[in-house]
Amino acid sequence: MAKITLGRYVPYDSFIHRMDPRNKIFCLIALMVAVFISYSTWELTFIVGGLLALFVIVLLIVSHISFKQLFGSLKPLWFMIIILLVINCLIPPRGESPIAFSIGSFNVYWNSIFQSLKIILRLVLMISLSMILTATTKPLDLTYALEWYLTPLKIIKFPAHEVAMTISIALRFIPTILTEVERIMKAQSSRGVDFKHGKISTKMKAIISLIIPLFISAFQRSEELADAMEARGYDPKQKRTRYHKLSFHILDIFAFLLCSGLLGATIIMSHYDFTFFTPSFLPWFVVSTLFIVIYCLLVGIIESRVVS
């Protein structure tokens, strides 16, 4: 279990740790979109990509994620990255492109190399960003944030609170159930089950011998848990107060503006390649930004009424 480094919360007291999880999710999405925007020239792609990478590195440092940790979670991806590189180099690019080098009669084009580099850059940035989110935010806070984003759906009777409660309980029980998996596997191994080797039919049996006990105990657990929750006065239909209150600070506003600004800037650059604003694009950008802001405000208002 200790091997899982990706997505693990690392307690630390940093500015990013203290940020409002709702805002963190927003910023993450904004930055991810920014990372995935394409540009018409390679120069622009790598200048903007490099700047974003620089920004992400700063974030990593600020949130106290060691690069060792980051590379640890990238490990399973190295193989994919290499394959991507090779495949991309093998396929001749569309359109004209200078030849970078030749192996025998086979030509490798600059465009292919750039294309692969772009994909790798995006992949690494995307993983780093999600890691920043999960490493600096307690899983429970993430579910609270999720619940907040889902509040408007309560109008169409979507059980936002129940969904969030279910997720938070699932999160709480992951370590417990992993321990259980380990114990059952060991118990069955002691009875001669080999989970790693053997024919498909024996492997199937091995898996059944793990899954069935696991389900039985999970059902029993859920029953007992439901009893415990009910006995302690839990009723999903009833109003509840909140121990955890998510609060939006000045720094959050700053982060919010920074990330929206970054996203806006990349969109503009992508659209206009440094040519100037044209009236046809500006309204679209303004409207979409306004929509996000109004949505968040509205949810905030509804939420404060539901919870208080």
């Binding site: 709480r172 657990r221 007992e224 006995a231 121990y243």
Partner: protein, 271 residues
Amino acid sequence: MNLIEVKNLSYSYDGKINVLDDVSFVVEAGKYISIIGHNGSGKSTIAKLLTCLLEPKSGSIVAFGLKANRKNAREIRSHTGIVFQNPDNQFIGSTVRDDIAFGLENRQVKHEDMEGIIQEFASKVNMSEYLDKEPENLSGGQKQRVAIAGILAMKPDVVIFDEATSMLDPKGRNEIHETIKFMRKENPNLTLISITHDLEEAFASDHIIVLNKGKVSFEGSPKEVLQHRKELEEIGLDLPFKEKLVSLLNEKGFSLSSDESLERIVGKICQ
């Protein structure tokens, strides 16, 4: 004052076998009651009925002046707290802090008041240092103490222990016994119902109800219950060590009384 009155209570899960069969007893306010019986004697079913997790099929439970049923469940639960057997499956929050808060949230305690209450009750069960720990980093005894804190924080009139120590090691068990002692000293008005198969544990209480095959075999103070030595052994309950020692020695021709301390008993043996 009778806080809870159970009258002619029967219960069956499958409609055929009665796990509880015509059970009647009363629980007085401020008393510490033990309900003992072997596994499968129906004692855990009583716990579920008392907390309205199940509804009586025949007979009745009147608790706090209310008939126990679905309708009154909310009200009755606001007076009753229960600690279950499995320490893992009643730990709802992701940390000690959150778990104690869970009940408070259900009770709509104001956000501003929660932190103080959490601190107060965590310190009562000696868990103040562990407030931010996750359940997987706590021992069974610690988890049960958190459960107790979570329940006490809701200020119940009755706390039920449903085999709360049976999955713990001796250390954890002692921790819970100490906590129970502390609870009684701190709030003499608190009523405790302990459901257990450990006679040694039950002897710390004021009143013992012995269940066998869904029926009340006999009840009374620990001393009175001891009169039924033979029946207790037949049911498969283990008498406390001193009792067993004295009764075996008396069979060998000694005339000893278990009311005396172990030192005095041994002194008499050696005379």
